[in-house]
Subunit: 439 residues, 2 copies
């Protein structure tokens, strides 16, 4: 070997599972890099033939900086998908474009949001949160008074119970990860532990439930077990460092890590401490899980272990054979992700992906798996495991338990449409086009 | 005690240091809350006397959701401070409003930025990064080809070497934490380890330096030791989940965790591998640390351990005696924050603050200290320690070593103006007004 050596030993890129999945240890920085194999297996980059040419933007002074910067105009199609862009008198959904994002934080502008009565424009100086009911002393709080408490900061995902509902359909819908799984996002939330406020109010020891109510036009209300309030509930006032987005509950919301999104009541104006659940519309009808046979689960709060591949996924195209990274998001309402397995042959064989740490409790974890595509058909899948021993179910297992949709997806109250957490499969054909399949 | 009990034992709020600093263990969730003491010591919240009244925004349908959401109109003054809002032909600074933010992530819209020739409007389809010089095979990369590598995700602060330069002034400037310390921000960055790309190019073992060059109108270039490239350098393409902001290097930048901001070259178009530093303008003049006696340090890269209190701080006012939280940010270019001590009596006594974990390497850590203000004058300080054994210096120690400004702060090249990391002191007077002092 000449003087041109690599700094580290060049590993063999051991294939660990079918269709070209490569040992994740090449990512773990033990003096091993992926470059050696790239030379052997076809390279990602091209050799630089041309000398540097100064681009137009290098030959003139650029733009002034704005007081609040926004993404490049070249990113103008990286937006939320809106189900009700004109604000008609019905529920509105805004879905996160996971197929266009990287890392684990969802930027605030793209955090998913669902509102049943539009987004209220709340003056924080006029908004109050009241804690009352079975307490020694009812209390009221403002954004300003909450900010005086010692605040807690944590990462957490929030997921709509109806996220991924299109996957209850009998045939796989040909659409993006945004349309399938865009009703989950992940942020750093900062707020006051609810337990601190309940203790200050002096909660009756026989109390079992809280009813949390929002100040939106529907007064969305949900019953929350007192135990959850003492486990890890926050009254959140910051989202990724700044005050909450209008669509995410400004100026304050309940955060119940791992529980279905609508229980994380936005625009929070009231917590009533009681001894039984309220059986509100939003917990007995709108967000109920209908089971095969027509029964429903009462109070199914937890968003269970789940993952999906974001890169590559439907809407992307793979232009030529070579080395790629399969990457996606995993999360669990019961704790931390312990492992994500990836398959490129529709589940016949699996390899363990690298996880980007630190791995947070009840928050997104990004997984990455190197993959050498040989130009042949492949079916990409991911399967997440959490530290509570829970495993993301296979689709066949899941459908047997929970049912499939026998009616159109557009009639959400008539078929099972909640808490879907099974595996998503992307089929790559020999042209590099990607379809959604059930496998 | 009546049936109205607290869920947990009510702690005494042990004072751990002068002027009302309270034991941080009240924050750590060992079955202890702060509520008991609140009742004894004056409460943050008010008792709720009025029944709930429906606000105007609860009585009408709200606004439609936009494709990209933006902060509430009530937050319109939470912006970056601009040094050159009209884009005149000079350097521009945009400073982060830390006194209006919480948590540890800086939202992308408010991430600090400095540009010497405006913000280039780069078409990512036309932008290339070339790695050349002492390599076996020169390579070029596009945003699309970089996205095919297994990407790494991490939190990291980026700080301008000139951040906090106003604190070299002989008299304390009466201004906000934004104007004093707003040239540092923290984000989740996702990109390709530079070591992977250098290994692919095949770096000459005698190479010692890289010259990184941007595609902005100044072609900002800096020399970087090869060792740093192999330690933890990334070519970052995502910032808090989305592609980089235009002012932060879109479509790709160098990320050198812990090294001064300008070395994290934005709009990166070239890395040349060489055997000696380039001695570029930006490393020999513009970002040089001038020492007492007129000498300068050659290649002082590291941003050393530092902290500052953001809440309360200059511009806030404390309206009445009672319980507050002292909160701020700590970070170190050498590793993780191990401890932050807080004083309310100008450094005569110190108490250990609670840290919001997990604590990331070379990233912001939020510290919090409960404080009962008795209405008397107080001087608030924070002092950070890192896991490398480094301690944030006292001002007297720091000035003795590094000097003070003998000329106006507006002439930055004529006085010591780099790498300021000493303690910031906020004096609270008996009216609750806050001044910046040296103590």
């Amino acid at each position: 070997m000449s003087q041109w050596r690599r700094r580290h030993g060049a590993p063999s890129l051991d294939v660990v599972a079918g269709n070209g999945l490569i040992d994740r240890r090449v990512l773990l920085g033990r003096g091993i890099t992926i470059a050696g194999g790239l030379a052997a297996a076809g390279t990602v980059s091209g050799a630089a033939a041309e000398p540097l040419v100064d681009a137009p933007w290098s030959r003139a002074v650029g733009e002034p900086m704005p007081a609040v910067q926004t993404p490049s105009a070249f990113e103008k199609d990286v937006t939320r998908a809106l189900s009700n862009p004109n604000g008609e008198f019905r529920t509105s959904h805004a879905r996160t474009p996971h197929h266009r994002l990287g890392g684990t934080v969802t930027p605030n502008g793209l955090h998913f949001s669902i509102n049943h009565g539009g987004v209220p424009n709340i003056d924080p100086a006029e908004h109050k949160l009241v804690i009352h009911g079975m307490v020694r002393r009812p209390l009221e709080f403002t954004l300003e008074s909450l900010a005086r408490y010692p605040l807690v900061t944590r990462m957490a995902f929030v997921e709509c119970a109806g996220n991924s509902a299109p996957m209850f359909a009998k045939e796989p819908l040909q659409t993006t990860v945004q349309m399938l799984h865009g009703l989950v996002s992940n942020a750093e939330w900062t707020g006051v532990p609810l337990s601190v406020l309940l203790d200050e109010a002096g909660i009756d020891p026989t109390a079992k439930w809280l009813v949390a109510e929002g100040a939106d036009a529907q007064f969305l209300d949900r019953s929350v077990p007192v135990k959850k309030a003492y486990d890890d509930a926050l009254i959140a006032i910051y989202q990724n460092g700044e005050h909450l987005m209008p669509g995410n509950g400004y100026p304050m919301r309940l955060l119940l890590p791992g529980y279905q999104g609508n229980m994380n009541v936005k625009y929070l104006r009231r917590i009533k401490v009681i001894d039984q659940p309220a059986y509100s519309y939003f917990e007995t009808k709108n967000y109920s899980q209908i089971l095969p046979g027509g029964k429903t689960w009462r109070f199914h709060f937890l968003m269970e272990v789940k993952s999906f591949i974001t890169h590559p996924s439907f809407g992307h195209s793979i232009k030529q054979p070579g080395l790629y990274a399969i990457s996606g998001l995993a999360y669990s309402g019961t704790g931390r992700i312990s492992k994500v397995m990836v398959s490129a042959d529709g589940g016949k064989s699996w390899g363990e992906a690298a996880l980007q740490g630190p791995i947070h409790d009840k928050a997104f974890t990004r997984f990455v798996m190197p993959w050498r595509w040989d130009g042949q058909p492949a079916i990409l899948q991911s399967r997440a495991y959490d530290d509570g021993g829970n495993v993301q179910p296979l689709r066949a297992e899941f459908v047997a338990l929970r049912g499939e949709a026998s009616r159109p997806v557009a009639t959400p109250l008539t078929f099972p449409n909640q808490h879907y957490n099974s595996i998503t499969s992307w089929a790559v054909d020999s042209s590099g086009a990607i379809k959604h399949v059930y496998a």
